[in-house]
Amino acid sequence: MEKKNLFPNNFKTVLLDSIAGKKNWFLISFAILIITVLIMPLLLISEIQEGNIVVGMIEIFILVFINCIIDFSYLHDNRKLGYYLSKPMTSLQRVNITIITNFIFTAVLIGILGVINMIAGVDVHEMYIITIPWLITGIITAAFSSILTGNSLAAAVATVVNFTLPLSFLAILNYLFTIIEDLALGFNANILFNSFVDNYYKVNNLYFLNYFDDGINWTYFFQLAVIMTVLYLIGFKLLKRRKNERTTELVVYDGYKYFISLFLATLVPIGFSLALRTESFVGKMAVFVLLSALGYYIINAILEKSFSPSFKGLKMYIIYLVIFALFIVGGNIATNQYEYYIPEAEEVEYAFIGNSMYHYQQEWERSRQVYDFNLEDIEEESFKENVDVYTSAKSIDNIIDIHQHILEDQSYYLNQNVIITYVMKDGDNLTRYYNLEQAEDYNGDYLNSKAKEILSTEEFESRLPYNNKYFNKSYIDNINFEINDENGYKTHDISDIDIEKLKINLEKDYQNYLQESKYSFEILIRPDANRSPDYYIERRIEEDKEVETAVPEVKPETYYRNYSIFYETSETGNMKYMRYDIQINEDFENTVNMLEDYLNIEIK
């Protein structure tokens, strides 16, 4: 009858023997931690800081990593393998003993660091919450990586590669989404990537990072147990199928060898694609095939220790290319049905149009992504105040018309991106992203006319700066007018100005400006823009100024002129300090006149 035991009959004796074999490592590790984390900081800065504890944890990682690679090195040496596997202890039992020995070794080191931590009296418990699972899963990863490989150096590399595999996969995922972006109008790689990572591929959770803020609960231990079990089962399955005769080869399993070759070969063109941007989809794909083939050949040559290409290797690469081609075709087919889809106005609860996917307001102290907007958001007052979303039927209809127009024609008077989001009544979020391209024959009448209709709605107007609820005497701590011209910045205190009157003047000027502007669509999608050529509210005027140089000479120098009213409040519900800016330009006649009268200066 076969022994199915995970541990040998004399488990305790063998384990104690294995631990005793690490006596020197225990001593040297103890010395390293005591000297670098306890004695050195006390001698140098008379205290132990958080950083010292973090350094101690990094040292533990390095020590545990080295120990694991050494302890599993018997799998990479024919003599050692022959000796140990000929003994009455199965490979699995030996691997288990080695894993447990390293768990104990790690626990002791963590214990030492914990004691130093207690002496120092610093609180870095979040670090332990994350790093302890990393160490535990890292040991098991080192075990199965050592089983996969036939060489200790390869095992060390494989441990790092396998441990970070879910992260590396993000790069591939992002690249695949860029292909979708190239294939389908309205699809954006960042949106697809972030939505996928946020909703499905929760890599943060996989690495326990979600517990950093949340703290630990039963799910933490459950997740750790599940990950440990999965990793252990991978090792168990691999060990059963390990071909020990291939010891000393870099990789013992052909499957893993081809997987890792193709995986790394995929990262090569992805890395290059970051440096070599191209507009040509065919060119991009050709570069992908060429670089992945080259990368695959080189990686395979290293793993095989031979430059001769193998038929099986070639077959695997062809299969890989077929899968890649199927992904492109499948992606194209899948996105085709959504590419030109526009919802019916009555299905939409609210809509957004803009050129930024992210919305951050200091009042929120968080950023929101448009593809995350949901029905609950619109219930929040601060959301409606801060994000230019539209709920009126008229605005939604106009946005749908603009959307339809963009689907038919993506030309614009400059390169610009536009994002349209619909939050549907059933809670779904439909976000589309378009790159409008500069075209000589662009006629902006349609977009501007539709935009102007939205600009004239109450909900747009309510968000104009003079309608900010904090633009009120009772909230304002101080208010200033700033001129930036050829003489530099000059700030004028206008604390005693009549705010209500200033509001009325700003309203008149804004209404005038919005009606007269030839750039309504640009104002619609960039309402908060404050860096601008002449179509923005903040008008920067370029003029030449005569300047004297060090060598006697006078030459012109370009300078800019712009104006802003800024005010500070210290009460926004939770006593936070806030600053608001209202940009104006020379066309804001009523406001400028009022400021000129108040300050007794000439502004123009």
Partner: protein, 300 residues
Amino acid sequence: MIRVEGLNKWFRDFNVLKDINITANTGQIYGLVGSNGCGKTTLLKHIIQIFKGDSGSIYYKDTQIKEASPEIEKFYYIQDDLYFPYGYNLDMLFKYESKLYKNMSVEKYEKLLKFFNINRKAKLTTLSKGQKKQAAFIIAVSAKPEVLLLDEVVDGLDAVVKRKFWNVLINEVMERDVTVIISSHDLKEIDNICDKIGIMHEGRIIKEEKMDTLKEEVKRVQFAVEEEYKEIKSDKYEIIKTQKIGSVYFGIIKGDVDIFRKDLNEKYTLLIFDELSMDLEEIFITELGGAGYGKEEFIS
């Protein structure tokens, strides 16, 4: 009894073991001989379950052996390329292996230490190749295994130590009915020790026979005839090789030598006929020669 049945092993595209069938009976010393790279070590590593065969089975006393079989505890394998845990001396190794082999005998260990005169406190890595082999052998015998698998174990031993080594081995077989499978290149050494021989060539067992039978099967003869000798063909024997030195012919005959003599007598006037026994090395060369190995001639 160890029985290997239909064992096949592929190292990628190379068929390193081809349908191996061998049987080593209890209390038998089985000599595994063969050309370089023929798969002797690979076969031993399959028996001890370091390697897993692609097909075929290995049995010990009719129980199929697998990696987790308790029967493995009764096996001890000494590999050609020895390894000892880092920093160990012989006493430490004995202590370590005592935790793995429950039959480990202190008494036997002490006796063997004295017999081989090995420094028990010396670091094993500092010992000479021959001393290392002795150290490994001392531990192996002290474990009192039922099956001893020895890979090139006498390689590097001097004549005196070899004698001691065979003494101990024969003693173990006689006292405890240990089954020994020994692979060696030193055919002269195992000639007088093995009960059974398996000759391997290019991954196959080309001959497996009891040593006595093997020596009976192939004979060397020297004869002289009055007339010019021309090779005789018969289905009762096979003339593997003949060579004339002076007026005397030397031949290697596989099969019935008496019939060959009778045939010679009938065809020629037989002047001299002597039957000489062959040693294992000659049989080995003859068998491998039959398989086409070592027949090449160097032309300068």
